[in-house]
C-alpha cells in the first residue's frame, strides 16, 4: 500500500488496547511513510499517547498487528523498539536529574571504548546534538535545576541522536517558547529530508499547519478522520476532534469593579528569580501574566500564595498587609493557588476525588476538628456537580483525564469563596474541549468578584482571557498592557526586549 | 608495690549482664587498690567487635589481659593476638576452646548446677515436667551447668525434660520470652531451670503472668544482686540460685595476672566455688557478696 506514492515504513492493523476491563483503543489502523510528518490529534484521553506507547514498545497492545519496514513488528520492551529504529519522546519529561546532560542523552547506549565508557566521545556528541537545538550549555552539567524548556530540549536531543527511522514526538512543544519551537521544527525538516518518518502529537493546532504533511484525528480510542494535507482550517480539525461544532472559545470579557483587591509592591525573591514586581488587581478582574519560559512567573505567583519565601516587598489584600509566610496563611486570607504542575502539586493521584477536595476544605467538612464521611461525600459531590467535573467522588484522581484533574484542582478551592485566585498554566496539556470549560470557570470567578491572576505561556490564551496583561522577562516586569492595546506583537516585543 | 603491671585490659562480652558487671567491679576495685589502671571494653555480645576491641587494647599498651570471650566461638583469636605481644592472658568464666590463657578462672559449674536442679526437683517431689533455659550455646558455663543439671534429672526417673531452648545473652527479656513460649506448648510444666539468674527471673515472671505461680518452681544461677533481693522477698516462683564468688574471681584474676607477669607459676584452672542459696540464706549475700 502506498501513501501519496510513498511506501509506509510503519503500518498498524486493528490495534486494540485495554487497561483492566476498559478498552481505550478500539481497532486503530495507521500508516506512516518515510520522510513524512503525521500529526496525531485528539482531545485529552483520545488515546494518542497510548497508541504511541504501543509503537515504541513501552506497553503491549491487547491485540492487533504491526509491520515495520515490511516485516512483522511486535516490540516487547522499549529496547526492542530502539534497536529496530523507533524512538519516542514521551509526554512526561523522562530525565535523570542527578546525572549530567550527556549521560541523560546516552543513557542505555553509552559510547564504549575498550570495555570502558568513553566520556570524551559522549560529551562531544551530546554537545553537537544540543547545539543543533540552540542549547549551548556544558554537557557535563547535571540536569537538575534546568528550566522545563531546556529539559524538553535535552529530551529532544536524546531522541535525535538515536538515529531512528521513526520518531514519535508526544507534545514536544508543551513547555517550549516560540524560539525553541522554531529550532525544533528546523530539525524536524532536516530529519524529514533524511527520510525519517515522524508522528507528531500536539494540542497547539497552529503548529500543525507549519509542520505536518498529514493529519490523523482520534476520538475516544478510534481514528475518526484523516486529512491528506495540513492545509485544513483549524475549526474543521477542532470539530473533528470534539465531534461537534465549536462555539466561541473565549467568553466575552466583563468589566471589573473599581475596588482594588490584591496589591503587590516591590516583591523580590531571595533566589533572585524575580525582582521588584508591583501590580494590583481589581475585584472581578482577570489579570494575565505573560512572558517567555523561565521569566520567573511561577515563582512570583507561588510567593504571593505563600508557597515560596519572599525576600522583600508586600502583598496587600483589600488594603491590609498580609504578606504570607506559608500557604496556610495565604489560604486563610483568601488567596489560593492552582499550581503549574497538576500531577506533582495539584492533586494526590492515588487518593479519591472527595479526599482531594476534603484536604483543602477541612473547615467545611468538619466540626471542631471532627469529620464525618457523610459530610465529605456530600460536600464533594456538590462541588463536582457545580464545576462540571466528569466523575464521582469515590473515583481515584489518576483515573481521570488531565482536563478533569485540572478541574478538580480548581474546584477544590472555589468552595472557600476566595478573594484572589492565582492560576499557573491552567490549561497546559489540556485539549480544546476541556479548555473552553476552564475558561468559563475563570470568567465565572471574575463575575463573582474574585480577583483572578492567570499565568500562561499560551499567548492566545492570555490575550483571550485577560482584562490586563503584565509581561515579565528575566525576572522583571517589563510592562502592563490593557486588553485593548495587547496583541501578540506588542506582548512578544516586551517579552523579548 | 612493685607488682610489675601498670595497665590491665579487661574484655567483657556484655556489661548488661549483672554477672559481668560484678566481675568488672571486682577487677576495678582490687586493681585500684594496687594502683593498676583498668581499661574495660564491652563487646555487646558480638565476637567480631571483641576482636577489634582487643586490638585496640593492645594498641594502648596493656601489660595484662583479662579476657571473657564474647562468643562461644572465636575465643581463640584474642588470646593469640595477646600472646603475640607476650602479654599474660587470664580467662574468666569461659574457656576458649583450643587456645586457653595462662589460667582459666570459673565457678564450680557442674556441682552447683547439680545442686540447684536437685533442689528444685526435690521441691517438686521428684516428678513432673521440667524445662531448661540455656545460656549462650557452647559457652563453658552453658555446657557445664547443663551437665550438672542433667545429673540431677537422670537421678529422678519421674522427671521428664520436655523442652530446652538457648538464649543469646542470658537476659531476663529472653528468659521471659522463652518461658512464655514453653508454657504455651506445655502448660503443665512444674520445674524450670534457668542457667543464669536473669533467665530464671524472666521465666518466673512469665510463670506469674500465665497465672501458674503455685504450680511451678524456678531455679537460677549466679547470685545476681537483683536475684538475691528477690530471694530475700521470696514471693515469686524463683526460689533458689547458686551464688558465684564474683568479687573473689575479680581479685583472683588480677593476682593471677601479676603472678604470670612475674613468671610465678599459676594453676591451669582455678575454680572458686558457688554456694547454693535459697530464700533462707540469701540475706547474708545481699549483705556481703562473695
Amino acid at each position: 500500500m502506498t501513501i501519496d506514492g510513498k511506501n509506509p515504513v510503519l503500518s498498524l492493523r486493528n490495534i486494540h488496547k485495554s487497561f483492566g476491563s476498559i478498552e481505550v483503543l478500539h481497532g486503530i489502523n495507521l500508516e506512516v511513510a518515510a520522510g513524512e510528518v503525521v500529526a496525531l490529534l485528539g482531545e485529552n484521553g483520545a488515546g494518542k499517547s497510548t497508541l504511541s506507547n504501543i509503537i515504541s514498545g513501552t506497553i503491549l497492545p491487547s491485540s492487533g498487528e504491526m509491520t515495520w519496514l515490511g516485516a512483522p513488528y511486535a516490540p516487547a520492551t522499549p529496547r526492542d523498539a530502539i534497536d529496530a529504529g523507533v524512538a519516542m519522546i514521551h509526554q512526561e519529561l523522562m530525565l535523570l536529574p542527578h546525572l549530567s546532560i550527556a549521560e541523560n542523552i546516552f543513557v542505555g547506549r553509552y559510547p564504549m571504548k575498550a570495555g570502558r565508557l568513553d566520556r570524551g566521545e559522549m560529551d562531544r556528541r551530546a554537545q553537537a546534538g544540543l547545539k543543533r537545538l540552540g542549547l549551548e550549555i556544558s554537557p557535563r552539567r547535571p540536569v537538575e535545576g534546568l528550566s522545563t524548556a531546556s529539559q524538553q530540549l535535552i529530551e529532544i536531543a536524546k531522541a535525535l541522536t538515536l538515529n531512528a527511522k521513526l520518531l514519535i514526538l508526544d507534545e514536544p512543544t508543551a513547555a517550549l517558547g516560540s524560539e525553541e519551537t522554531k529550532l525544533l521544527f528546523e530539525q524536524i525538516e532536516r530529519l524529514k529530508s533524511e527520510g525519517v518518518g515522524i508522528i507528531y502529537i500536539s494540542h497547539r493546532l497552529e503548529e500543525i499547519k507549519q509542520i505536518a504533511d498529514r493529519i490523523v484525528v482520534m476520538r475516544d480510542g478510534e481514528k475518526v478522520q484523516e486529512f491528506d494535507t495540513a492545509d485544513v482550517p483549524i475549526r474543521t480539525i477542532v470539530e473533528a476532534m470534539v465531534g461537534r461544532s465549536m462555539e466561541q472559545m473565549f467568553p466575552p470579557l466583563a468589566r471589573p469593579e473599581d475596588s482594588q483587591v490584591l496589591k503587590v509592591s516591590g516583591l523580590t525573591s531571595p533566589t533572585g528569580r524575580f525582582r521588584d514586581v508591583s501590580f494590583s488587581v481589581r475585584k472581578g478582574e482577570i489579570f494575565g501574566i505573560a512572558g517567555l519560559v523561565g521569566a520567573g512567573r511561577t515563582e512570583l505567583v507561588r510567593s504571593i500564595a505563600g508557597a515560596d519565601p519572599i525576600q522583600t516587598g508586600t502583598v496587600e489584600l483589600n488594603g491590609k498587609d498580609i504578606t504570607p509566610k506559608s500557604p496556610g496563611q495565604a489560604i486563610r486570607n483568601g488567596i489560593i493557588l492552582v499550581p503549574e504542575d497538576r500531577k506533582l502539586q495539584g492533586v494526590i493521584l492515588d487518593h479519591s476525588i472527595q479526599e482531594n477536595i476534603a484536604y483543602s476544605n477541612f473547615e467545611s467538612v468538619s466540626k471542631s476538628g471532627w469529620m464525618s464521611n457523610r459530610r465529605v461525600k456530600k460536600f464533594a459531590s456538590e462541588n463536582i456537580r457545580k464545576f462540571g467535573v466528569k466523575g464521582i467522588g469515590s473515583q481515584m484522581a489518576n483515573e481521570m483525564s488531565g482536563g478533569n484533574q485540572q478541574k478538580i484542582v480548581i474546584a477544590k478551592w472555589l468552595a472557600r469563596n476566595p478573594d484572589v485566585v492565582l492560576l499557573d498554566e491552567p490549561t497546559r496539556g489540556i485539549d480544546v474541549g476541556a479548555r473552553s470549560s476552564i475558561y468559563e470557570l475563570i470568567h465565572g470567578l471574575a463575575a463573582q468578584g474574585v480577583a483572578v491572576v492567570v499565568v500562561s505561556s499560551d499567548l492566545e490564551e492570555v490575550l483571550g482571557v485577560s482584562n490586563r496583561i503584565m509581561v515579565m522577562a528575566a525576572g522583571r516586569q517589563v510592562g502592563i498592557l490593557d486588553h485593548s492595546e495587547a496583541n501578540d506583537v506588542s506582548v512578544m516585543e516586551l517579552a523579548t526586549a | 608495690e612493685g607488682v610489675g603491671i601498670k595497665k590491665i585490659g579487661l574484655a567483657v562480652p556484655n556489661l548488661q549482664a549483672d554477672f559481668f558487671n560484678q566481675i568488672k567491679l571486682g577487677v576495678e576495685g582490687y586493681a585500684g587498690k594496687l594502683g593498676i589502671e583498668v581499661i574495660v571494653v564491652d563487646a555487646k555480645n558480638d565476637t567480631a567487635t571483641q576482636v577489634s576491641q582487643v586490638q585496640d587494647l593492645l594498641t594502648q599498651g596493656i601489660d595484662a589481659f583479662i579476657y571473657i570471650p564474647a562468643g562461644a566461638a572465636a575465643a581463640a583469636v584474642p588470646t593469640r593476638l595477646a600472646r603475640a605481644e607476650g602479654i599474660p592472658v587470664i580467662n574468666v568464666d569461659r574457656e576458649p576452646e583450643g587456645a586457653p590463657g595462662d589460667t582459666v578462672i570459673y565457678g564450680e559449674n557442674v556441682l552447683s548446677a547439680y545442686q540447684v536442679c536437685d533442689h528444685i526437683i526435690g521441691l517438686a517431689e521428684g516428678k513432673g515436667k521440667m524445662v531448661v533455659i540455656h545460656g549462650q550455646k557452647g559457652t563453658t558455663p552453658e555446657v557445664q551447668r547443663f551437665e550438672g543439671c542433667k545429673m540431677a534429672i537422670d537421678e529422678n526417673p519421674g522427671v521428664e525434660l520436655v523442652a530446652q531452648q538457648w538464649s543469646q545473652q542470658w537476659s531476663p527479656d529472653e528468659g521471659f520470652q522463652i518461658a512464655q513460649n514453653m508454657l504455651q506448648a506445655n502448660p503443665d510444666i512444674s520445674i524450670i531451670f534457668g542457667q543464669a539468674d536473669g533467665l530464671a527471673m524472666g521465666a518466673a515472671k512469665a510463670v506469674e503472668v500465665a497465672g501458674l505461680a503455685d504450680q511451678i518452681v524456678v531455679g537460677g544461677y549466679d547470685g545476681d544482686g537483683a536475684a538475691l533481693e528477690s530471694l530475700v522477698a521470696c514471693d515469686t516462683p524463683f526460689i533458689v540460685t547458686a551464688t558465684q564468688s564474683t568479687q573473689a574471681m575479680g581479685v583472683l584474676a588480677v593476682n593471677s595476672a601479676i603472678a604470670v607477669a612475674n613468671d610465678a607459676s599459676v594453676p591451669a584452672r582455678q575454680i572458686p566455688n558457688a554456694v547454693l542459696t535459697t530464700c533462707d540464706d540469701a540475706a547474708k549475700f545481699v549483705e556481703k557478696h562473695p
Binding site: 483492566g20 483543602s360 476538628g369 478533569n404 | -
Partner: protein
C-alpha cells in the same frame, strides 16, 4: 464531549478511598489470612482454640500493638521510625530510675518516662523537618542515642523493686478477662481508629503521605504535623515501655532490641504502604494479630525457634506479595 470519561466513571466500583473506622477496608486480604491461620491452628493443635489462649495472645501483643499504632502514623506520612525499640528501653529505664531509685510516685514516674520518650520523637521530627535528614537516618541515629542513654542511667544494670500492684496490672484479669495492660492497648486502638477516621489531624496524615507538596499547598502545616507524628510515635513506644515494665516487673536497658522491625512488619502486613498515604490502624491491628497468632501457634506446634524465623519471614513475604496479586488482578 469526553464520553470516555463517562464510560469510565460508570464502570467504577465502589472502591472508595476513605477507610471506615471499624471496617478493615483495604486490609481484607490480611483479614482473610488471619482467619485462615486461626482455622488451621484450631485444627492442628488442641490448645489454640480456647478463651484462655486467646487472652494469652492479647497479653503477648500488647507491646507490639501499641508500638505498631505509632508506627502506622509514621508510615502513613511516608516516614519510618527505627528508634522505637530504643525509645521503649529509655522509657523503661527512666521509669525505673524515677520510681525505684528516686522513689517518686508511680504517676509522676510514668509521666517522666513518657515525656523522655516524646522528646526523642521531637528531636527526630525536627531533624527530619528542619535539617532535612531522611527519616531512616534520623531515627537510626536516635536509635543509637536513645539506647546509649538508656544504658547510661544505671550503667547497664537492670532495676527491680516496683510496687507490687504495678506488676499485678499485667497479671490480674479483671472480671476474668482483661488485664490493665491489655485494656490500655484496646483504648489506644480505639482512640487511634477514631483519630484516624474522624479527626482532621488524622486525615491530614493521609494527605501528607499522599503528596507532601500538595498537602502544603492545601494549607496544611506539614512540618508541624510531621514533628507531632514522630512525637506521638515515640510517646506510644514509651507507653509500650511502661506496659512492658509492668509485665516484666523489672526494667533493663537491653529491652526492645529489633522491635522496630516487628512493628514495621505488622504495619506492612496490615496493608499500609511504605510509600505513605494508604492504609491505616485497622489493618495494622490485623497485622499485629497475625504476628501474635503466628508466634503463639508455632509455639503450640513446638516448632523450633530457628524454623520459626524462617516461617515468619515467609509469611511476611506472602502477605505483601498476595496484596500485589490482588491489585494486579483488579
Amino acid at each position: 464531549m469526553q464520553s470516555t470519561e463517562d464510560t469510565n466513571s460508570a464502570m467504577i466500583k465502589a472502591s472508595s478511598g476513605l477507610r471506615g473506622a471499624f471496617s478493615f477496608g483495604g486490609a481484607t486480604g490480611p483479614l482473610i489470612g488471619l482467619i485462615l491461620l486461626c482455622a488451621f491452628l484450631s485444627i492442628a493443635t488442641d490448645s489454640f482454640l480456647s478463651f484462655r489462649n486467646f487472652l494469652n495472645i492479647l497479653d503477648q501483643i500488647t507491646v507490639l500493638g501499641i508500638m505498631a499504632v505509632g508506627m502506622t502514623f509514621v508510615i502513613l506520612i511516608a516516614g519510618i521510625d527505627l528508634s522505637v525499640g530504643s525509645v521503649l528501653a529509655l522509657s523503661m529505664m527512666v521509669l525505673g530510675f524515677l520510681n525505684v531509685e528516686a522513689e517518686l510516685p508511680m504517676a509522676i514516674s510514668i509521666g517522666g518516662a513518657l515525656v523522655a520518650s516524646a522528646l526523642v520523637g521531637v528531636v527526630a521530627g525536627l531533624l527530619i523537618t528542619e535539617f532535612k535528614v531522611p527519616p531512616f537516618i534520623a531515627t537510626l541515629a536516635m536509635m543509637s542515642i536513645a539506647r546509649g542513654l538508656a544504658n547510661m542511667i544505671t550503667n547497664g544494670s537492670q532495676i527491680i523493686g516496683f510496687p507490687a500492684w504495678f506488676n499485678m496490672g499485667a497479671i490480674i484479669r479483671h472480671g476474668g478477662v482483661l488485664t490493665t495492660t491489655v485494656a490500655v492497648m484496646l483504648v489506644v486502638f480505639v482512640v487511634a481508629l477514631l483519630f484516624q477516621r474522624y479527626r482532621e489531624g488524622g486525615r491530614m496524615l493521609y494527605a501528607i503521605g499522599g503528596n507532601p507538596e500538595v498537602a502544603r499547598l492545601a494549607g496544611i502545616n506539614v512540618k508541624r504535623a510531621t514533628v507531632l507524628t514522630y512525637t506521638a510515635c515515640a510517646a506510644l513506644s514509651g507507653l509500650a515501655g511502661v506496659l512492658l515494665a509492668a509485665r516484666l516487673d523489672a526494667v533493663q536497658p537491653s529491652s526492645g532490641v529489633a522491635y522496630e522491625l516487628d512493628a514495621i512488619a505488622a504495619v506492612v502486613i496490615g496493608g499500609t504502604s511504605l510509600a505513605g498515604g494508604t492504609g491505616g490502624v485497622g489493618g495494622t491491628i490485623i497485622g499485629v494479630l497475625i504476628i501474635g497468632v503466628l508466634r503463639n501457634g508455632l509455639n503450640l506446634l513446638s516448632v523450633s525457634p530457628f524454623l520459626q524465623a524462617v516461617i515468619i519471614g515467609l509469611v511476611i513475604v506472602l502477605a505483601v506479595a498476595a496484596e500485589t496479586f490482588k491489585h494486579r488482578n483488579k
